[in-house]
Symmetry: C2
């Protein structure tokens, strides 16, 4: 599924909630999911880990909907086939550990 | 671009760095980008905001590469066309503010 289609799917399912909650409240949900992902990364539960990755990208798409940002366009503007810092693929940035 | 194609693009550009840095270090970069997104949401700089959304999805894809998770598959397993909690689209969860 394209990134833009996923963002549109999140809009259909959640925008009535997301837009009422607003940017700050929706960011807080994203931040919570990132913390849950951190915990899941410490376990051996692959299904739980996949669910947390799903939640982070879902809330990121919800937040992009509220902030009126096209996530796919933003991602490809910055990262189309090369590192935006050094301009190479694979990245050759000397400082980028 | 499909979510899986974006994750593969991140692999081509960054996996040599991501795999050496490991899960914990790559998560820390993601967490930093989420904090930068929070700051960008407070400004009126649309280009900076789009760049921060790009960085968060890029580092999420990098982290998924290190954790050996297919981000698109994980996202669609949990969120295909309905809320995973109530099973409806739009979501009807009474508790989900």
């Amino acid at each position: 599924m394209q990134i833009c289609e996923f963002q549109e799917m999140m809009r259909r399912i959640y925008f009535h909630r997301d837009s009422n909650r607003g940017i700050e409240g929706t960011f807080d949900w994203l931040a919570d999911e990132v913390r849950e992902l951190k915990e899941a990364l410490k376990t051996d539960d692959k299904k739980a880990l996949e669910d947390e990755f799903a939640d982070v990208i879902a809330w990121l798409a919800s937040l992009a909907n509220v902030a009126n940002v096209d996530l796919e366009k933003a991602a490809l503007n910055k990262y189309e086939n090369k590192c935006p810092k050094c301009g190479h693929s694979p990245c050759r940035c000397p400082f980028f550990k």
